[in-house]
């Protein structure tokens, strides 16, 4: 991959912006930023299936919850290290996502939205269920511990557990974003968009629509599940009530505000859904929801295609008109 000088500059700025908070922010704000990055990752997952593949999911909170619980149960009940649980959380969420993708083959649009909605409603209740209480801790939930930074790292770089957590979240999310970017820009990504935009034509070009759709659900659930796993450790606590239906809507809002079918927009969407409610609360303690709603409406009016749409428009203005020809 070759980068233009501007691209290189943006990359360096991005990396600085990502790592600087380690030293700039104190504990609470660093924790908030950690959660914002996690939200971005969850929104990225949703974007793969809903943004790029056009299958509406109002249930991604369920995958987030399952990821969080798989990691928590393995860490608390089986004493696993946090890192070892990540592939498991991803794999189980991928399987559940694939299973949800199967009915999605027959249901489209609003009907699929309802099916995924029911998943989001059902999962928190299942987690409270008596039969699972021995593992999940029932309504009480589970307490866990952040991993401590290893010696070799602290001898190089003095980091506390919060800073180390941020670093972990940043690296895991960074890898997921890179993989997703690679997937979307390649053959599979084009096929996902083709099945979204024109299923008949996609089929006529030899695409296996069923496999693409279920695959998109699996990958999407996997990414959002990893975000859930990270959140469990960052918060050091999981309980069924942290994963209400509202969480799924939050991801959806993040996706729309950031930009439907945009990788970069997912980052912005995550930051938005985490920080804007706080800003709303600082404006009005009595009715933060009203302020949040107003900010959201203004936002959608000013940026109808989300943050990504704004970036695209700016880029289009910057690059000279005319169409470069292939060599």
């Amino acid at each position: 991959m070759r980068l233009s000088p501007t691209g290189f500059l943006l990359l360096v700025l991005g990396l600085v912006a990502a790592f600087a908070p380690l030293w700039v922010l104190e504990s609470f704000h660093l924790f908030q930023l950690t959660m914002a990055v996690i939200m971005s990752l969850a929104v990225l997952g949703l974007n793969i299936v809903t943004g790029y593949n056009g299958q509406i999911s109002l249930g991604h909170g369920a995958f987030f919850a399952i990821g969080a619980y798989v990691t928590s149960i393995l860490m608390v009940q089986a004493d696993w290290s946090f890192y070892a649980t990540l592939p498991f959380a991803a794999a189980i969420c991928g399987l559940v996502g694939y299973a949800v993708g199967l009915p999605a083959l027959r249901l489209g649009g609003l009907y699929l939205a309802l099916v995924t909605f029911s998943l989001a409603v059902a999962v928190p209740q299942l987690l409270k269920h008596k039969a699972l209480e021995a593992w999940t801790g029932g309504v009480q939930g589970l307490f866990l511990m952040k991993p401590d930074p290893p010696r070799w790292l602290t001898s190089l770089l003095p980091l506390n557990a919060d800073q180390y957590m941020y670093l972990n979240v940043l690296i895991v999310s960074g890898i997921c974003f890179l993989l997703a970017w690679n997937l979307i820009r390649g053959r599979i990504g084009r096929a996902l968009m083709a099945t979204r935009d024109h299923p008949t034509a996609a089929e006529a070009m030899g695409m296996d629509i069923a496999a693409l759709k279920t695959g998109a659900f699996a990958v999407s659930a996997m990414i959002t599940g990893i975000a859930g796993a990270l959140s469990a450790v960052a918060v050091e606590f999981v309980a069924p009530d942290s994963f209400t239906f509202l969480l799924s809507i939050t991801f959806f809002v993040g996706m729309v505000v950031g930009g439907v079918a945009s990788i970069l927009g997912s980052i912005f969407g995550g930051l938005f859904v985490l920080f804007v409610p706080n800003i709303a609360e600082s404006i009005s303690r009595a009715a933060p929801g009203v302020i949040y709603g107003m900010i959201l409406i203004v936002f959608l009016f000013v940026l109808p295609e989300g943050f990504a749409g704004l970036v695209r428009r700016l880029l289009a203005k910057l690059s000279s008109p005319g169409n470069p020809q292939p060599k």
Binding site: R190, D197, H198, E203, A204, M205, M207, D208
Partner: protein, 234 residues
């Protein structure tokens, strides 16, 4: 024969549209299906490529393809340019090209791109442009190029003249003639513009309410008095 269709029946739910069609496309030949609106031309193409379930025999180079999934039929070498062109509006021309070559694993894709640029120079000029910003004629060209990138044995073309200015239509049929001479792909062409279709085709069938009412070499059909009056307008 590249494509042989025997006693083809198909429809949508309880509504039967096709009533026992027999027709064929020769290796590297062009067969035209003519007929008025609602005669069943588009439905015939859909039945051949499996978008709707057909009854009867559909043989591609002697192999039975009726009842297979569309995607499998495509992989066997049948490319369908659907009505309405099926352009991926939000993707660039280049990305549309790459989608056309989706099933290809061979390394000749780049060479085929160059070939398409030769046939459709305007698409080369529009290479990085969003397909949705192309004119109707360019979108039709893109749809044909995209279908050819599958390296099909058989190309199903659904009204390439639809909604286009006469001059553009002339252009497109000129290109189709060239493609036919240079590539050896067989074409099953559905067209309302009988004049143009008969110029390109070597064999033609006339459809009326789901039945073939006349067939023969294109030159003969063109001479037919009834056809001339009802479809050619002179």
């Amino acid at each position: 024969m590249l494509l042989e269709v025997k006693n083809l029946c198909a429809g949508y739910g309880p509504t039967q549209v096709l009533f026992g069609l027999d027709f064929a496309v020769a290796e590297g030949g062009v067969t035209a299906l003519l007929g008025a609106n609602g005669a069943g031309k588009t439905t015939t193409l859909r039945a051949v490529c499996g978008l709707i379930r057909p009854e009867g025999e559909v043989l591609l180079s002697g192999q039975r393809i009726a009842g297979l999934m569309t995607e499998s039929i495509a992989r066997l070498g049948v490319a369908h340019v659907p009505d309405g062109r099926g352009t991926f509006m939000e993707l660039t021309v280049e990305e549309n090209f790459r989608l056309g070559a989706y099933t290809r694993r061979d390394g000749d894709v780049a060479a085929d791109f160059a070939r398409m640029w030769e046939w459709f120079p305007r698409l080369k000029q529009r290479w990085r442009q969003q397909a949705g910003t192309l004119s109707g004629g360019e979108q039709q060209m893109l749809a044909i190029a995209r279908a050819l990138l599958l390296r099909p044995k058989l190309l199903l073309l659904d009204e390439p003249s639809f909604g286009l200015a006469p001059l553009i239509v002339q252009d497109i049929f000129g290109i189709l003639r060239r493609i036919r001479e240079e590539s050896g792909v067989g074409i099953l062409l559905v067209e309302q513009n009988a004049n143009l279709a008969l110029d390109l085709a070597d064999h033609a069938y006339l459809l009326e309410t789901g039945r073939i009412v006349m067939s023969g070499p294109a030159a003969e059909i063109r001479q037919d008095e009834a056809i001339r009056r009802s479809y050619l307008g002179y």
